[in-house]
Symmetry: C2
């Protein structure tokens, strides 16, 4: 195979700082593990808007379709809050998800042992936690039509549409069951089938797909009960399967619970390309954190672990992914903390680049 | 004024047990505080389905429209899981909400001091917590049209519609600001204006309504960030204002965080009736808990405190409401615990009716 290609889209806020450290890691893998990558970089979000008046230039979109994997930092910031909806930074990210058809968003919610005390939850509730949320990412209320703000009588009405076809549900369900097979063989599917017909169809299709995975134990939960159970005893879950909007809230809740928010990566995967690799975009779960941007305070670990997910899911290098994950754990166990992780007695924060260097050293 | 009227709808699961204790409390207020109520009782949910083949009989609906306040227990249970969507127990509750036009759902998330250790969160994160979630209850994706499961090409598609008019948003926003004026004068409004046009309209209208309440500090948060912040540091909030679906998840998350789930009441309020009282329905936040139903294990406190909310919001008896709330606190401080609250060393559970009797004694 030819050298695999990566497109880096640092985006806004702390995105560029995080991705800067990832570039070091990529270089390390090229130099020390004989795994060169063909890396290019481009703009997304507010940065793209500033340069081109659009949060994602068509050329960038085309490049994203060509490469083996996209690594994205973060998008958004107060500077862009008053832009028209159609050119907000988020639209760039949403366009990538939609046009690359990245239907399966994998969000591991893991609690790093060294960080369990950062959780607002009690240590025994979160220590050792390792769940995987599979969120549908290209449909539902995020993209359904009709949508917009319309005149009706003498007032306006805001409309969005939740829409799921059977095949959209089936393909993301299949991703969840495949993952469960390599984990603890449990899938909990969440919707509001007691209130929404789209949830009824969701439940039906997931139940049907489950028949192909007799070893996997399937359960169903209403999404409101789901968020409760996540807060109460998250370790009851292995893989959680849910739609785009519920997944947005549930995965953020799960991420926050771990106390490891600045550490959590995500993978968004689509169908296999001609070379067998899935269309793929990797990004941290955290946002652009404009308040600390440009100050060397950002935690580059979520971006780094997103690259580890790329090694695993795009390049079939599970061992190398584990190597990188172990290096990160090592650095945390050694007591290295970026500013988002202060609180322990006598700990001085390291900067973004010091953290990146420590990871390289641990590798 | 004539004797105020109450319609009790015990519903399913532990609903009847909880409401049984409330009846004792109502009688106590009649006998000892010279506050008689004209009480009638009827069926809702699965219980109504069993009797009439519908989760809410038209006669019951008519009665609910006439009385000064409805007290509801809970609906639902596995027995009804395979019923057609249109006759599921939940439809009875949703019909009440919709036809009584109970647009403002008030859900206090309070942590009872004596119970702070039951939370999965650290004590300092939740002790003393007292926030109020105002959830829109008659519109949004719960009721929007079109909805259903349709054929499209050679597959089915599940559709629901999120719909909010300006006036629907404005009236519930007004409820939130009014409440904030009597509390800590902060409202945080939550939506997904970065993704949904209905969220943009929501934010715009709430901002407009806020102008009538210059003393109240208004902030906006995306709902995913909102659930994160609830998990991280819930005490930052006073009143949270949100839509029907986000409110479903956010209020359940908040309730679970307090560790006091079996204790939390809610009020659903509509427009004033001819006698000046708002249309109103009061119910616990918890569900029907079919697994423990009929065993005397249910905690009747959420139902009891729902009646306290009725005293405050329907009958303008804030002092009497406080009296009842203090009695509940007293009983908890004395160490009385129903089975949902075990875990402390050497504590024996009291039954549902023992808890009810203890509350009466404390009154
Ligand atoms: C930035 C925003 C559009 C996005 C979403 O809502 O999906 C984010 O919250 C996420 O979860 O990736
Ligand atoms: C029972 C169900 C229909 C209801 C809802 O989704 O609103 C419940 O979860 C609630 O929050 O009151």
């Amino acid at each position: 195979m030819s050298t695999p290609s990566l497109l880096i889209l640092p985006g806004d806020g702390i995105g560029p700082e995080g991705m800067g450290e990832v570039t070091k890691v990529i270089d390390w893998f090229g130099a020390k593990r004989d795994m060169p990558f063909d890396v290019s970089e481009d703009l997304v979000g507010g940065a793209a808007y500033d340069a081109h008046g659009t949060p994602l230039h068509d050329d960038t979109m085309a490049k994203a379709q060509e490469v083996d994997a996209v690594l994205l930092g973060a998008v958004g910031g107060p500077k862009y809050d008053n832009l028209d909806f159609s050119v907000k930074p988020e639209r760039g990210l949403l366009r990538l998800r939609k046009e690359m058809d990245l239907f399966a968003n994998l969000r591991p919610a893991q609690c790093f042992d060294a960080l369990a005390d950062f959780s607002s939850l009690k240590r025994d509730v979160v220590a050792g936690l390792d769940i995987m949320i599979v969120r549908e990412l290209t449909s539902g209320v995020y993209f359904g039509e009709p949508r917009g703000i319309f005149e009706e009588g003498n007032e306006r009405v805001g409309i969005n549409t939740q829409r799921y076809t059977e095949s959209e549900i089936a393909r993301v369900a299949r991703s969840a069951f495949e993952l469960a097979m390599r984990r603890n063989k449990k899938v909990c599917s969440m919707e509001k089938a007691n209130v929404m017909e789209s949830g009824i169809l969701w439940r039906e299709v997931v139940t049907e797909v489950a028949k192909d995975y007799p070893e996997v134990e399937l359960s169903h939960m209403y999404a409101d009960a789901g968020v409760m159970q996540l807060c109460r005893w998250p370790k009851q879950f292995d893989v959680i399967l849910t739609d785009n909007l519920f997944g947005d809230l549930l995965s953020d809740a799960a991420a926050m619970l771990t106390g490891s928010l600045g550490m959590l990566p995500s993978a968004s995967l689509g169908a296999p390309m001609a070379n067998g690799r899935p269309k793929a975009l990797y990004e941290p779960v955290h946002g652009s954190a404009p308040d600390i941007a440009g100050q060397g305070k950002a935690n580059p670990i979520a971006c780094t672990l997103s690259f580890a997910m790329a090694l695993r899911y795009s390049f079939d290098k599970g061992d190398e992914a584990t190597r990188l994950e172990k290096a990160v754990e090592q650095v945390l166990a050694d007591g290295k903390r970026t500013a988002d992780l202060l609180g322990e007695e006598g700990v001085q924060p390291v900067s973004t680049s010091e953290m990146g260097d420590a990871i390289i050293a641990a590798l």
